[in-house]
Symmetry: C2
Subunit: 230 residues, 2 copies
């Protein structure tokens, strides 16, 4: 059978754009024309083009046609790593080590992040994630007890709070913030580095249907980085 699937056509069009045949901002032939040129149905071309539009390579408008993007929207998808997986992928044995675990009144900025009133009592958990005994990352987490009361009894020595929560509320929404932060005393000690060292940091707040579940700050050991391709 013919090998003209939508992926082939998608690739062909991509190459024509990358080769400069159709310059940024230029309009490219309509679906009907391309279908004729490649000898396939418009449906197939349509699918290929939709994919390219998803990739941010082209811009499509009804009636107006399809154009190559002026400045391609460069976007990368990062898989939000699960710390245990990262550690195990490197061949080390994972173990969470709890540094702090108590239910206390949350600081105002934490309560605000979870859209709770000032002075709300939250479950506070600080965990060092160990790979073969070495600290890979330090997690500082606050959990809304109204949303996940069982957490106080969870076996957090065996399973990390993150994974425990994923099992409880697998499909939640979240905010993710990447930044760099300076090591405080606790992190400096854990990572055996100086106070003020630059640490790659992920802040994450999670909710489901307007109920805020948890917010956490994850600080990685010095030298850690997150890699992606575009």
């Amino acid at each position: 059978m013919s090998t003209l699937n939508h992926q082939t056509i998608r690739k062909a069009i991509r190459e024509r754009i990358e080769s400069g045949e159709w310059l940024p901002g230029a309009i490219i032939p309509g679906e009907v024309d391309l279908a004729a040129e490649y000898g396939c149905s418009r449906t197939t071309v349509n699918r290929a083009m939709q994919n390219l539009a998803d990739d941010g390579l082209i811009e499509r408008k009804r009636r107006a046609g399809t154009r190559v993007k002026e400045i391609p929207t460069r976007q990368t998808t990062f898989k939000i790593p699960i710390v245990r997986h990262e550690i195990e992928a490197s061949g080390a044995r994972y173990r969470p080590h709890i540094l702090e675990r108590k239910t206390i009144k949350a600081p105002n900025h934490i309560a605000a992040r979870l859209h709770l009133k000032k002075g709300a009592k939250l479950f506070h958990l600080v965990t060092a994630h160990l790979g073969d005994g070495r600290v890979h990352a330090v997690e500082d987490r606050w959990v809304n007890l109204a949303a996940a009361p069982d957490i106080v009894n969870a076996p957090l020595n065996e399973i990390s709070a993150n994974e425990w929560l994923i099992r409880k509320v697998p499909y939640s929404s979240g905010d993710v913030i990447f930044s760099a932060s300076a090591a405080a005393a606790r992190e400096a000690e854990a990572f055996e580095t100086k106070i003020g060292s630059a640490l790659f940091t992920i802040d994450r707040t999670t909710w489901l249907d307007n109920v805020y579940i948890t917010t956490m700050t994850l600080r990685y050991r010095p030298g850690y980085n997150l890699h992606s391709r575009l």
Copy 2:
């Protein structure tokens, strides 16, 4: 007409997963059944399901059926920001300020990144990206002159090297690395902060068809962060 489009069905299925009707790991009804249930064609259900699979919510295998992912692959898409856009979005006026600009022998680790031999001569450019006169980020870039010889004459006071290169080679592939790094003397001075301050850092190497074009390190001012939703 009926409002049963693929997006509606996609949303419906998503909700049934999020509600816990189909638990992680469980198999969900086949396309034919769902089509019957929703009163649409299998094509439409297929499209909805493919989208959900792209989102990492479900896993599909021929013959084996579709299952809810055990641990949902959390992934976020970050738009790789163009510094000028970031600055202008905040209402400030953008201006690049060149700190260094010369063609010299590249350090070995840079030559290696661009897959060139040791001692290759490269165009080296250090730029401070200013927003209303304040330094927003410092960029340290090396350009392969074999790939983009014209860069030596580019008006880099007006347009940043990044944007100039995007125009020359709009559709290239790249590696992106997010990390935290300590401010060296140059950055400390530019950002009016102390040496060793934690800076959010993006490393990026770009190529097109096996020709490596440029590699750069972009260090953002203290406090900068990258935000996303999942």
